[in-house]
Symmetry: C2
Subunit: 438 residues, 2 copies
């Protein structure tokens, strides 16, 4: 019998603001950061104590608050029996989400909810390591009933019931094995955001778009929303470099109100953007619906800032979005993302995960692969976002080749970082930050 012995939290920050990688209309100078979580146990495997690894992504300042939020959850997990915990992670997810005192800080939103997600994900990582499988395989090996058991249907059962969820998962059981083979052989489609950061000049956009096409990408994304003339010019540059067959989406990172979004997109419509992402506040369900009505056939996408399953439910009920963009670190962990995948499947809306940041590609690919194998059963109209930096800090960096994500092989959820990186980029005392003080 083994127990959780500690929940360690480390503030890790990368000084990405110095190169404008990651720059967009709302985040001009992000320092991609992580509240890095290690759920330690006294369970020994191969002479090492087993641990669960997870992280909560932020863009710099506030990462200390994220760390504090995760640390505040240590009393809920330290001392737990490992076998019981990983036997049903949903128990932990419900306990943290419905804690009568913590709940005031959300409920189910913001830093505390993201911290709960990070702890829940660390428990999933532990389960994957004990099962000796990557997360996508653990999830895709579960029975429909076990998957349904992992989902909290509170506040969404007016849109999808446990019985409906079970039926969808059962319907997708046929073909699971073939889709596992297809995944292992071909991977899943990716799109790249690396060519179109707002801080890049035209020449850099042109060069990077050509490189992306040569690398096999059939879809890419440009940041927009700071200046309409510049957006039109950069979109033209990208279209000329990419050719007519490549999809080019645009992303405003919540820059606009409803009326401004409609007006701005009217001016970009001739350039046929595939979708407009985050046209306005992620909280504005009715606003997204109004925008979608006005900009069709351009699709509307959002999700990286959508706080929980209740907002996703309404975005789908209202017919407000064409694309669901789940994020590995925004909501209450794997369990709530399963709920969101079920909602998307119920409404027939494709899931194109948000990624980038630190470790988001490594983590979210597992959920897309589960969706492909065991739920939607399709990769049509689905791409996983890809951004080409900071992967070298991970124990198993993503493999994106020929424009596709290839399935990770190692046990875990993908969040484990290299010890060296954690030390080097530790904030504020790691060598990278210590030497930066002027």
């Amino acid at each position: 019998m083994s127990r959780i012995t500690a929940l360690d939290v480390i503030d890790v920050r990368f000084p990405t603001s110095r190169t404008l990688d990651g720059s967009d209309a709302m985040n001009p100078e992000p320092d991609y950061s992580a509240a890095y979580v290690v759920m330690r146990t006294d369970h020994t495997a191969d002479d090492n104590d087993l641990a669960g690894y997870s992280l909560l992504f932020t863009t710099g300042r506030g990462n200390d608050v994220a760390c504090a939020a995760v640390r505040s959850l240590a009393p809920y997990v330290v001392g737990r029996d490992v076998a019981t915990l990983i036997g049903d992670v949903g128990v932990l997810a419900r306990e943290l989400t419905w804690d009568g005192q913590l709940r005031w800080l959300g409920p189910e939103k913001g830093v505390m909810h993201m911290a709960i997600g990070a702890v829940v994900n660390a428990a999933w990582d532990l389960r994957c390591r004990i099962d000796a499988k990557p997360l996508w395989r653990v999830l895709a090996s579960m029975s429909p009933a076990e998957i349904v058991q992992q989902v909290d249907f509170t506040y969404i059962d007016d849109a999808v019931t446990p019985a409906e969820a079970l039926a969808m998962l059962q319907a997708a059981e046929a073909g699971r094995a073939e889709r596992v083979d297809a995944l292992l052989e071909h991977g899943l489609p990716a799109y790249t955001t690396s060519a179109g950061w707002l801080g890049y000049d035209d020449a850099k956009v042109d060069r990077l778009v050509r490189l992306a096409v040569a690398d096999g990408f059939t879809m890419m994304k440009l940041k927009v929303g700071a200046d309409i003339e510049s957006d039109i010019r950069r979109l033209r540059v990208a279209r000329a470099a990419a050719g007519e067959d490549v999809r080019i989406a645009v992303d405003a990172n919540q820059r606009w109100g409803v009326d401004a979004a409609i007006e701005w997109m009217r001016q970009l419509a001739d350039l046929s953007p595939y979708w407009i992402e985050e046209p306005t506040s992620p909280d504005d369900i009715l606003g997204h619906r109004a925008i979608r009505d006005a900009v069709a056939p351009i699709k509307v996408a959002t999700g990286e800032h959508v706080q929980n399953r209740v907002i996703f439910k309404q975005l789908l009920q209202a017919g407000a979005i064409d694309v669901v963009q789940i994020d590995a670190c925004r909501v209450g962990g794997v369990n709530e993302n399963l709920a969101i995948l079920l909602l998307a499947a119920k409404f027939g809306v494709p899931v194109c995960p948000h990624a980038g940041g630190v470790g988001l590609c490594e983590m979210v690919q597992h959920l897309a692969m589960f969706d492909f194998i065991a739920l939607s059963g399709s990769s049509d109209g689905r791409w996983i976002e890809y951004v080409d930096h900071l992967h070298e800090h991970f124990a198993e960096p993503v493999v994106v080749a020929n424009g596709r994500y290839h399935a990770p092989k190692n046990p875990g959820i993908g969040a484990q970082m290299l010890d060296r990186s954690i030390v080097e980029y530790g904030f504020p005392n790691g060598p990278v930050w210590a030497t930066m003080q002027s």
Copy 2:
């Protein structure tokens, strides 16, 4: 010229769980708590250094995270010129809300947003002390143009524009002086929640309801949602004790999904509850609309957990609520509450503030008084929630007499606590907590 010299944050907790004061269907054992904020300056008045006092209310665990979030904002305020800061607090509110890195932790929701609200409110407290006026008087003395200037219309200008806001405030200028006089003479209507906590037995409900009626309350509220038989019985007890002329609202504290809310309220309908408060998730705009359609003529109320102006906007646009319940500590401070008051006024929906907790009565009364004097111009259909505990810890406890809130007289926003209380209830080292360790 004086400057902000420090932002002190103190973790203060009251062990209210021991008496079940504050118990409801979702918060069975709250320990009412505050991240208490002191914005210190080197501005000397009456031989004391002037400071701005504020607090962020929580229900216990997680109060440390709230403290960490407020502390993370110190670099944004320490060193600022006091006169510039209080000359336009909206500048600080916008700067904190739109910080490109902090924004990832919300945006505009959860702990970080509440922390921003607490700091913004501390700046308002400072302004009130320098102006030597209570907040309600400061706000009610501002010109319509100055009030509009304090509001961030981003994401709400499709529902209320600055010009419309200005017009509403200008229309309410006539009669401001008379309403100040009326407020000073009669106060504003209160309703009490003290009679109906879920943990109270029938005899206690009967006794407290009779006491409340004797105290002059014409409206009160009962907690419901744990057990339908018990709810029916307690509501009958309360109705018998109160008589037919007293309004009795019920509050489910988000206990239900949409369908469950409709079914439960169908069973309570014969007992004519005035409103159903928080029937479901505060995020579920469409759900509130469905519930409202089904339970009319019972009114639907929510707000104490509504994270920001964007959700309130949609609740109003969708016709989802009959009552707007602002909270002094949930959103981005006085400035965002002004936005919410303007939205409510635009849609003609009355504002009945949420209060209770620690200091919420003391703080939110100012906003209701501003609304009465300078915006809605009416107290019809409006009551401020009142709960009768923890007031003794405040420098200027609320005065509720004959069922009405009487206007506070001292400078400030109402959040200043007694030094003695802060020491005694400091967590975890204050004497109250230190002696509780077994």
